[in-house]
Symmetry: C2
Subunit: 428 residues, 2 copies
Amino acid sequence: MGRSVLAHPQEKEKLLTYFETHIMKVLHWLASFGPDEDGGITRLLYSDSWLEAQRALAVKMSGCGLVTEFDEVGNLFGKLQGEDADAPSIITGSHIDTVVQGGLYDGAYGIAAGLLALDYLKRQFGKPKRTLELVSLCEEEGSRFPMAYWGSGSIAGKRNFEQIVHLQDGQEMSFADAMHRCGFGEGMGRNCRRDDIGAFIELHIEQGAVLESEGISIGVVDTIAGQRRLKFEVVGESNHAGTTPMHMRKDALEGVSVMIQALRREAVKLGAPLVATVGRLQVLPNMPNVVPGKVVFTVDARHADEGVLGSFCDWVKRTFTQLADERQLAIHGSEWFREEPVPMDERLKKQMDDVCKQMAISSKRMVSGAGHDAQMFKHICKAAMLFVPSRRGISHSPEEFTEPRDLAVGVLVLTELLYRLGYEGEEL
Amino acid sequence: MGRSVLAHPQEKEKLLTYFETHIMKVLHWLASFGPDEDGGITRLLYSDSWLEAQRALAVKMSGCGLVTEFDEVGNLFGKLQGEDADAPSIITGSHIDTVVQGGLYDGAYGIAAGLLALDYLKRQFGKPKRTLELVSLCEEEGSRFPMAYWGSGSIAGKRNFEQIVHLQDGQEMSFADAMHRCGFGEGMGRNCRRDDIGAFIELHIEQGAVLESEGISIGVVDTIAGQRRLKFEVVGESNHAGTTPMHMRKDALEGVSVMIQALRREAVKLGAPLVATVGRLQVLPNMPNVVPGKVVFTVDARHADEGVLGSFCDWVKRTFTQLADERQLAIHGSEWFREEPVPMDERLKKQMDDVCKQMAISSKRMVSGAGHDAQMFKHICKAAMLFVPSRRGISHSPEEFTEPRDLAVGVLVLTELLYRLGYEGEEL
C-alpha cells in the first residue's frame, strides 16, 4: 500500500471541496465553446467551436505547466515529464467532441478531471517518476462523420486516412477538407500512432443509472461490453383490415410483437450484464386500415462475454425463425455490426478497487454497456475506466447531470491512482 | 315463389355462359379508361379518365335502351321506365372511381353487372312494372380528395357542397375546381338528393377471402360492420441501449408489443365478425441503440353490432391503460373515427337467400368488414348487397381477381332479383 495524496485522512474533505469547486469551473468554461441556444453544447469534430475549445485547452494546459502538443489529427496532449524518460507514459483524458446538443459532462468531464489531477499533483509533489499525460481526444462520438473513435483509434493504429477518404458530413463537406480547415491532416496520420504509452485511464460519466440507483460513488469498469446488431425483415401479407378475419391473417407486426416479448423474457432470464433492445422498427404499408404485411426491425445485444453474447444471438435467430414459421411468416435476419468485449486491465482494476477501499469511497465493478476510447487504447497499452453516477442515466442531452460532489469523488480517485502510478511508482 | 328469368332450369348454364363472356367484355372495356403502365387502373374522381369513362358509359347505357341522366355531382343514371310511374325505383350499380392503381373489379363490377342485367331483362321481358335503374356513382374511394361516398352520399343527402369547400387534392386543386372542370357542380348539389328510390342493390367483390376459402359463390351481406379507429400514444423513457439494465427500462415498444398481443387474443376470443388491427405504428426516436421512449399506434376495430364494438373498444382502452400502468408507461388514447354498423334490409336479404336457394347457388350470410355505397342509400331506401369471391382477398391492387364464372353467378343472382322485384312485382 502506497502513500496517499492525502497527508492525513482528514484532508479528504478539504480536497473534495477543492475539486468540487474547480471541476465545475472547468466544465462551465469548456461549455462556453459551442453553446446551443437551448442549453445544450455542440462541438462537432473540426468545427469552429471544437477548434476553439482545443486551442483554449492547449493554453490552459500550458498554464498548468504541461508541455502541449497536437498530433496530426488534432489530438491534444499535455505532458508532465517524469524523471525516468524511458518509462512509458501514464495517460488520462477523454474526448472533447460532443453529439449534437449534448451535455456538460460526456467526454469533457474526463478531460477536466485529468487537468485538475495533474495540476494538483504537480503543484503538490512536483516532478513525477513516470511521465503523466493528459489527452483531449479529437473525436469519439461519430456525430459529424460516420466514423467513431477517430482520436483514440488514430493513436492506437486502428484508424487511418484511407478509411476517411470517402466520408462526408451532412453538408457534404469531406472529412479531409474539414480536417485541413483546422490545420490538421497535412501528413498521413502516421505520426499519430504511439508505442510509448504504459496505461490509459479514462474517467467518464456512467451514462446509465446503476450507480445512482444503488447509491454508489465509483464504478470500476470490468469490461466494455461486446455489441452485436442484427436486422430482421418479417414478411406476412398486407390485407384489408375490415375484410380479413383474424384467423386468415398473416400479420407481420403481430409476429414481431411476439418476438419482442420473447427477446425481453430471454434477456431478463439470462440476467445482467446482458441487454437486448429493439430500438428501430418500421411497419409496411403502415396504414391504419391495412394488416401489416412487413416489419423491419433491429436488435442490439450486448454482453461482457463474447461466448454468452454469441449464444444469445444464435438463440435470437433460431427463436425468431421458429416464431415466424409458426405464423407462416417469412423471415430474413442478418448481422450488420459486431464489436467484441474489451476487458479492462486486471491490475489497474485492482488498484482502483484498492484506492476506493482505502479512501472509504463506495465502489463496484461494472460492465460498460457503452463503447469508449479506452477500448481503442487497449490495443496498445493497459487500459482502465472509472465511472461516476449519471442522474437518471441520461446522456447525450442537455439534461445530462452529475452532482458536483460525485464529480469531485471521481477526480479524487483519479488523482490518487495517478499519484500511486506516477509518483509512488506502483507497478503497472 | 315467383317465376324465374329462366324459362327452364336447364337454361341456367346457357345464361351463365352468356354472362361470363359479356361481363369480361364490359370489364375490359371499362378498364380501357385509366389504364396504368403496370397493369393497374386509375380513375380518380373528376379526372380525365373518370370523365371519359362516365361519358362512354352514358352512351353504352343509351345503346341498351336506358334513358340516361347525370346529376349535379356527376352520378350517372340509366333508367328503364316501369309501367307504374309512381312506384319507387329499384336501383342497382356501384362506383366508377378507383384507388390509385386499382384493379378491374372494385366498383366497376357492380356497374357492369347491372348493365348486363338490365340489358338482358329489357330484351327478354320488355317494360318492367316498377322502374329499374342502373347507377354509376361518381365517387366512393376517397382516393383523390379526403372525402368518401361523395356519389351515394349526395343522393342520400349525407354529403353537401359545404363539406368540400376547403378540400384539395395532392396537386392542390380544389374539389370545386375539379368538379367544374368536368362540367358538374354548377348548382349547389341540391338536385342530387332523391326521395323516389325504393331499393338499392349493390353487387361487389368481397375484398376478403372468406367466400373463396369456403368455396361459396355468393355472400348475402347481413350488415356493413361498424368501425372505430383509436390512436394511442405510449410514453416511457428513451435510454441508452447499452447502459440501461433490463430491469431499469421503461421501453414503450415492449409495452406496446404486449398490447398488440392482448388485442389479438381478445379479438380471437370474441370471434368473428370482430376484427381488430394495429396497422400504423411509429417508434421514437427509432434508433438501433436507443431504448424506445415513445410509440404512437392505431387500432382499427370493426363489428356488426354496435354494442359489442363499443364494449370491445372500452376493453381495449381499459386493458391498454392497465398494461401501461404495470410498466410505468404513460398512455393517452383517443377515438378519431367512428361509423356505426349498417344492417341491410331484412326482406331483401331473405329474397336474395331465396334466389340462391332456388337457383341451386351456394350462398352464406356475411358481414362486410369494408364500407360500401349501400350504407349511404340505407338512409333513404331499402339497401342490400351481394358479394362474389375475391381471389386471396386482394383488392385495391392490379392483382384483384375473380373467376369469370363467379362473376357470372353474381350477375345471374342480381338479374333474377331484379326480375322478381321489377317484373314480378314482389313486395319490397
